[in-house]
Symmetry: C2
Subunit: 317 residues, 2 copies
């Protein structure tokens, strides 16, 4: 007997098809709404309720550890982007806000462009401003931490927003998304202890939500030839541990949480020192709340009312 199937033989094509199929399901269920641009969605209240439940769980997991809890906008000073060296390492993902440098001078030209056959030509008048899209949830934190840390170091809880310019049909790869972080600033041992403790907490938390997760050694998608060396060094020094879960494509699990050692990278650039005068080490754990929500929707189904009552209770759904 011959079985007819539409499944493509190429594994990469299969993954693409699974991404598209899951996105189509999410849009059909109106959990996310299309804006017409890949990776940019309007979010339903049902989706946001899952995110709020995850955020509350993450806060509970870190309760009592943070000196301060902060909420960041999607924008930050362009200077911070430059000081983190982000555009050099991730030019393809970088975003800067452009506007008119002199609206009065430019307005006539803008009106002319708008009224012409080539309306999009108005964007030729735009110039980069002093604002950038936030490249990683914790980046706006470091300039506020300049100076000397307390003897025991410091933990800050951050509700951050991030931008990555990487249009994708994978619904888990959004261009605008949130990360809920716990950032440590202090010495090298403290940084490692923070990171390792959070890997344990993250595995436990995701497990309680019924997700099949595993912690893997990982690297950031550094750009270009130099980038490959940076990625290799990050990997061989185990600086980045990702908690991955299957979302749309079972064969290609996605990072839903990551825990990172930054060594002295931010301490050096932003003048952060330990109580004993050393350049501070930093470490962070970041929960990708949209990705966790999507992993849950994939695992437990798009109808929230059908989820295991214990998981609904965890998330206050």
């Amino acid at each position: 007997m011959t079985t007819l199937t539409n499944r493509p033989a190429d594994p990469a094509e299969l993954v693409l098809e699974q991404h598209r199929a899951f996105r189509d399901e999410l849009l059909a269920a109106r959990l996310l709404l299309s804006t017409g641009i890949d990776g940019l969605y309007l979010r339903s209240d049902r989706f946001e309720r899952i995110v709020r439940g995850i955020d509350a769980m993450v806060s509970r997991a870190g309760a009592g550890t943070a000196e301060e809890t902060l909420h960041f906008p999607l924008l930050m000073p362009r200077e911070v982007l430059e000081r983190t060296n982000y555009p050099r390492s991730f030019p393809n993902l970088t975003g800067v806000v452009s506007g008119f440098s002199d609206p009065t001078a430019d307005h006539a030209a803008l009106v002319q462009a708008f009224d012409s056959d080539d309306r999009a030509s108005w964007t030729n008048l735009l110039r980069p401003s002093d604002l950038a899209l936030c490249s990683a949830a914790c980046h706006p934190l470091y300039p506020t931490q300049q100076g000397t840390l307390p003897a025991e170091g410091r933990v800050v809880e951050v509700f951050g927003q991030c931008f990555r310019r990487e249009p994708s049909i994978d619904p888990a790869r959004m261009q605008s998304f949130r990360q809920h972080e716990f950032v440590y600033l202090g010495n090298a041992e403290g940084a490692r202890a923070h990171r390792d403790a959070w890997i344990g907490r993250a595995l436990e938390l995701h497990g309680r939500l019924g997700l099949s997760v595993e912690a893997v050694n990982a690297n950031d998608p550094f750009f270009g030839r130099t980038g490959r060396l940076l990625a290799a060094s990050q990997l061989s020094n185990s600086l980045k541990i990702e908690v991955v879960a299957p979302i749309a494509a079972p064969s290609a699990p996605t990072a839903i949480t990551s825990a990172n050692l930054h060594l002295e990278h931010f301490g050096e650039e932003f003048g952060i020192h330990t109580a004993t005068g050393q350049v501070a080490h930093t470490a962070c754990v970041g929960f990708g709340v949209e990705r966790i929500a999507l992993a849950l929707l994939r695992r437990h189904g798009l109808d929230l009312t059908g989820w295991d009552p214990q998981i609904r209770q965890e998330l206050a759904l």
Copy 2:
């Protein structure tokens, strides 16, 4: 007897001084944290708890009226910005995301710029993308509403995020902020009824929070000479009603909520029709949640624990 005073005689200077003084107080109390850029702040958890309380009150005020509740990111397709005509009317406030059109080709030049004495020159390589900063909370909604509305029209609750490029030392004038909206789509009478009902609800809600508010006829800050005509027409047709409250400067109250008739502006451009085949009218009420939080902090003090227990209860503080 001569009284020495530092108060400037010029009323505009006095207002500036009051803006600066209130901002300094907010930063000193760490309710907001400076990013070094006027109008862009990191927010404390205390500030966010006030915002969450306001959001919940606004949702309760509109409970049962909305067909759907949606949450928008700060970004939207640049095409939506163009279709609303926003850059023509508000070029000075407009923001577009720029990035690299060809990261591989640009990367060497970027690295060179980064390593040069003029690091900022890397931004010369940036080009406007297909993403814009959201110009008004309800703008991303309209493309999703194309087609025919139900007979009774439709109300959508929107948690929106907005960008306005207007750096200011007035803490109530943020470049990145949120608006909680109830948007009506339907016929002209329905739009007016929605708008008028919400002015009443808004006055009542703000009054319950102990704010001295009043509803005033207002206009948007349309740009340039043509803009003055648009503003005059908006005023004379009473299309925009603002609920204003004193925040930093008692003599210059700030709009904290606004209720607007858009006539057929969005219905026409985005192909939205009533059940009887007419071009839809739209109307919205937008609660400026950060501004309301600031008005409360100004009115009741920076120490939330000292607020009237009834107001704390309203806001679940």
